[in-house]
């Protein structure tokens, strides 16, 4: 079989793609070589360095060779398909241009052309360099998407570069009146745009599937149709969403943001209704199961956000610089345990379970780690209200344990500014109702424990009612305590 026949057959052989995938490696060689040649030439012309012309010729030769190899590998890689053709073609011709003009420049030097040699040399050399930049930009757009370079470009620069202003893709806007909303345009498309079209668009076309236009979505991709109007159960796009996340066929791929169960229900319902392009909700059959999902699209926030997004602890989002090892060591000498909270953050948990004498003097050692400490366990220590003034400076604190210490209402007032605090244990302290009120005013607080403190049951009940997001545990409630005493049946 001739090479041409192989190239024209429908299935690209694996070895072709194997060689093709060396393109990203090879392509960086002419870039580096040409740039170093430019720098040497500039240095030579300005007389800053003494380099023989042989050196630049030698570098030009290898620029041309590597550019040629990169072109070959790039062509083989493109046979795998899945790239936007116009952009791919531009990239190809620019790449070939780099190789061609590098060869020309080298040839002029090699043959030592006298008449008109210099302008030709400078022209082809300069053009090869310029084309390197242009081809490199196209290559980046092919691999990472058109807006890779400009996505995080600051505003003023955008206007200068003529790039459209930032478009938020993270949030999906609530629908004003869900009954009158056009299902595809206002409900389905935003989900596809948030979760699918990054890879299935005009440029990237993974699996030859485009999901940015309804007509193209209906056409399907390499594996046939992905959407069967009227039959969501037979539609591959729904089947793949429902597969386990670790399954190779699951979409979106593992690690990418996933569709919520409600979003899948919504798209499946739309397909079952025949995947109409312009029908409104009121023109379709709304069953009891889908109604709450549709209605939730009218609510602000992530529509149908599923199970756990609202309850995720803020600690996951906290960032801090790495702590100094000497500060940690100094703190450890007081007998406390200092541990990293997780591998991905520099946050620390500090536990004084073995340091019952931890008190005012030792608290000072926490301050150099003020940004890192997020869990602080000081139960049954000598800590006082005065020390809490300093603890208030640990701004990333999310969990604070003060159980069975001499803390009172003054101490709580001191830490009231800790905005990330979620957990506060005041069991067995002198904190009273007013202290609990101050704690309840903390914006991030989710649970506070006041058993065996001076907090009264009635105040705990009342403050609990006023703060529905806050769990106040003031010992066993009557409902919990009574059945406990019931005799065995």
């Amino acid at each position: 079989m001739s090479l041409l026949a192989i190239l024209q057959s429908a299935e690209t052989p694996a070895w072709i793609l194997f060689i093709g995938r060396f393109h990203p490696v090879l392509v960086h060689l002419p870039i580096g070589f040409l740039l170093i040649a430019v720098l040497l030439e500039i240095g030579r012309y300005t007389g800053r360095i003494s380099v023989d012309a042989v050196v630049t010729r030698f570098i030009l030769f290898w620029s041309a060779v590597s550019a040629t190899l990169a072109c070959g590998a790039g062509y083989l890689l493109s046979l795998g398909g899945g790239y936007e053709e116009r952009l791919l073609e531009a990239h190809m011709w620019k790449g070939i241009g780099v190789a061609a003009f590098a060869w020309t420049a080298w040839l002029v030097q090699f043959l030592k052309v006298r008449a008109g040699g210099k302008p030709v040399y400078l022209f082809s050399f300069g053009l090869a360099v310029l084309l390197t930049f242009a081809a490199g930009h196209d290559g980046g757009s092919l691999t990472h998407g058109n807006d890779y370079l400009t996505r995080y470009m600051p505003g003023p620069l955008r206007t200068l570069a003529g790039v459209e202003p930032v478009r938020s893709v993270t949030g999906i806007k609530p629908v004003a009146d869900w009954r009158q909303a056009v299902v595809f345009e206002e409900m389905v498309r935003p989900v596809l745009e948030a979760r699918c079209t990054q890879c299935h668009n005009a440029v990237k076309k993974k699996g030859n599937l485009r999901m940015d236009e309804l007509s193209l979505l209906l056409r399907g991709g390499d594996n046939g149709p992905v959407l069967v109007p009227g039959k969501s159960a037979e539609s591959d796009m729904i089947r793949r969403c429902l597969l386990d996340e670790s399954d190779d066929d699951h979409m979106p791929p593992k690690g990418k943001p996933q569709l919520t169960p409600d979003q899948i229900t919504l798209i499946a319902w739309w397909i079952d209704q025949g995947a109409p392009a312009d029908k409104k909700v009121s023109e379709l059959t709304v069953s009891g199961q889908i109604e709450p999902v549709l209605a939730s699209l009218g609510q602000p926030g992530d529509p149908g956000s599923g199970i756990s997004s609202g309850t995720e602890s803020a600690v996951a989002a906290l960032k801090a610089a790495p702590a100094k090892e000497s500060d940690i060591e100094a703190l450890r000498r007081t007998g406390v345990t200092v541990k990293p909270l997780s591998q991905s953050q520099h946050l620390l948990e500090v536990n004084a379970v073995n340091a019952a004498r931890f008190g005012e003097k030792e608290v000072a050692l926490l301050l150099p780690l003020a940004a890192q400490i997020t869990w602080l366990k000081l139960g049954r220590t000598q800590i006082t209200d005065a020390s809490l003034g300093e603890i208030a400076r640990l701004k990333n604190l999310t969990r604070l344990y003060l159980e069975h210490t001499g803390i009172g209402d003054l101490g709580i007032a001191a830490v009231a500014g800790l905005s990330h605090l979620e957990y506060l244990n005041l069991t067995g302290t002198k904190v009273s109702d007013s202290g609990l009120r101050a704690a309840a005013a903390m914006t991030g607080l989710r649970s506070v424990y006041t058993w065996q403190s001076a907090v009264t049951d009635s105040a705990a009940m009342e403050i609990g009612r006023q703060n529905p997001g806050l769990q106040i545990v003031n010992g066993l409630s009557q409902a919990e305590a009574v059945p406990l005493k019931a005799p065995h049946p």
Binding site: I307, S308, K339, N351, P483
Partner: protein, 488 residues
């Protein structure tokens, strides 16, 4: 004199085992010596008892501690949790052939009869969880619990099933869940072991100490069993005539000698030995203090239904609370005697199971409430369950009618539950078919449960690995999916 020499030779021959030969041969070759060094570098500093493995956990844990309650022998889910009214209608009828074809049971032979549920079921709490009258106290904390109704396993005999549950493999030699947790997180309290085992019911679990062993992990991570009556740890008190100072000097001298040997031969097990001696010395103070329940107020004792001095499951629950309160990482409770085959007056549904529930239901509910009011429940994962479940059929051992009502081992579907530590409150996950034979929705395999517990403790179960015999091992081996629906 000749006798003495012969005895010496005999003794030295006895001591020279294959291991010694391999060790010295290995050192000669250099390669094996290198392997042992590579192995020890991961535990490194000798401060392993508190340090854990660097670079772990992978993300901020929701469950800082675990209390794992294992009812060894396996209680019947059909009497306690999984309400199957349809099964009552089939009570006494022959088991359908499709339940028996190609199946193996531990004891059932031929065609057994179906056995209807023996508990009176109702729904409890805001969440409306189904529970039976066998568990009148658990009813009061139903809203704290996530029930996994369609657990399934691969093993139908106690020992291999217990090993699979705790070590991820039905065969011996793998580290247990608690050992992995210790390897990853280390311990918080340097005066107490981070992994403590308390057993009740008169016997150890069938799979023996391997269910809390460290397998191929350094042995510093294995579970330490405490006794419930008398001295919690044997010989923890100083003997007569020995004071604490003298004891300290002894330990220091021994540690020094051990350190010299370690510098010579670099066997990581010597570091384990040193740290265990030192920990034991600190435990002389801390263990009696932590396990002393004489200072617990009467209403707490009443809540658990225990009396000072008794060694019971209830007392172990109370001790578990005291241990996690002192930042012990992993407390493993075993309670033996749940194997209700219907063969005797103890091992059956109508008497034995009820008695076991009466002894355990109150302390378990008390444990959850006690943890909650101390602010411990939200970061302490309580797991309840067994190695497998029981069949919807009545056991007919040797093809005979049994003297009492009982069920055989069942691996297709059974119930476990979790509470606190970042799991959902008042949630039921999974469903079984009308007769409770197969899981039909949201099945959870043992490896999925392990992946979920590790996830709650801050680990990616696919990345928590240890190199052994040429490859990386992990608790879930090649399987396991985190049950995300159960996580709050």
């Amino acid at each position: 004199m000749e006798n003495l020499l012969r005895e010496l030779e005999h003794l030295s021959l006895q001591r020279k085992t294959r291991r010694h030969f391999l060790q010295s041969a290995g050192l000669g070759l250099g390669i094996m010596g290198l392997g042992s060094l590579a192995g020890c570098s991961s535990t490194g500093s000798g401060a392993a008892e508190t340090a854990g493995h660097s670079g772990l956990p992978h993300f901020a844990p929701k469950a800082r501690r675990v209390i794992y309650i294992h009812m060894a022998g396996a209680p019947s889910q059909l009497e306690l949790f999984d309400y199957k009214p349809e099964l009552a209608r089939y009570h006494g009828r022959d088991c359908p052939a499709e339940f028996l074809e190609g199946k193996k049971f531990a004891f059932i032979q031929g065609v057994p009869k179906m056995l209807g549920p023996q508990g009176k079921f109702d729904r409890y709490g805001q969440s409306g969880a189904w529970l039976s009258d066998y568990l009148p106290h658990l009813q009061t904390v139903a809203d704290e619990i996530t029930f996994l109704k369609a657990m399934h396993t691969d093993e139908f005999n106690h020992a291999p099933a217990q090993l699979l549950l705790h070590t991820g493999s039905p065969r011996l030699g793998r580290p247990s869940l608690g050992a992995w947790a210790m390897y990853g997180l280390g311990s918080e309290n340097r005066n107490l072991p981070g992994f403590i085992v308390l057993a009740s019911g008169g016997r150890q679990p069938d799979a023996g100490k391997s269910v809390y062993g460290s397998g191929f992990l350094p042995s510093v991570y294995q579970g330490v069993q405490c006794r419930t009556g008398g001295d919690p740890v044997l010989y923890i008190s100083d003997p007569h005539g020995m004071n604490r100072n003298a004891r300290q000097q002894t330990i220091e001298a021994i540690s020094e000698i051990n350190q010299q040997i370690y510098d010579d031969v670099r066997d990581p097990e010597i570091l384990t030995r040193i740290s265990q001696y030192e920990l034991a010395f600190r435990m002389q103070m801390s263990v009696p203090e932590v396990t002393d329940i004489s200072k617990e107020p009467q209403f707490i004792l009443d809540m658990y239904g225990v009396k000072p001095g008794e060694g019971s499951f209830g007392m172990n629950c109370l001790l578990a609370r005291k241990l996690v309160e002192n930042d012990v990482r992993f407390v493993q409770l075993f309670d033996w005697g749940w194997d209700g085959h219907g063969t005797s007056s103890n091992a059956n549904i109508e008497g034995g199971l009820r008695a076991k529930c009466e002894a355990s239901d109150r302390p378990i509910a008390a444990l959850i409430k006690d943890l909650k009011m101390r602010g411990l429940l939200e970061e302490t994962l309580v797991v309840f369950g067994a190695e497998f479940g029981r069949t919807p059929m009545q056991e007919n051992r040797n093809g005979l009618v049994m003297p009492y009502m009982g069920r055989d081992h069942h691996l297709e579907a059974y119930t476990m539950w979790m509470a606190g530590g970042g799991v959902k409150r008042g949630y039921t996950h999974g469903e079984t078919d009308e007769l409770g034979y197969y899981g039909v929705k949201d099945r959870v395999h043992i490896h999925d449960l392990q992946a979920t517990i590790l996830h709650l403790m801050g680990f990616d179960h696919e990345k928590l690995t240890f190199p052994f015999q040429g490859r990386n091992f992990r608790l879930t081996d090649t399987q396991g999916k985190v049950v995300r629906q159960a996580i709050a």
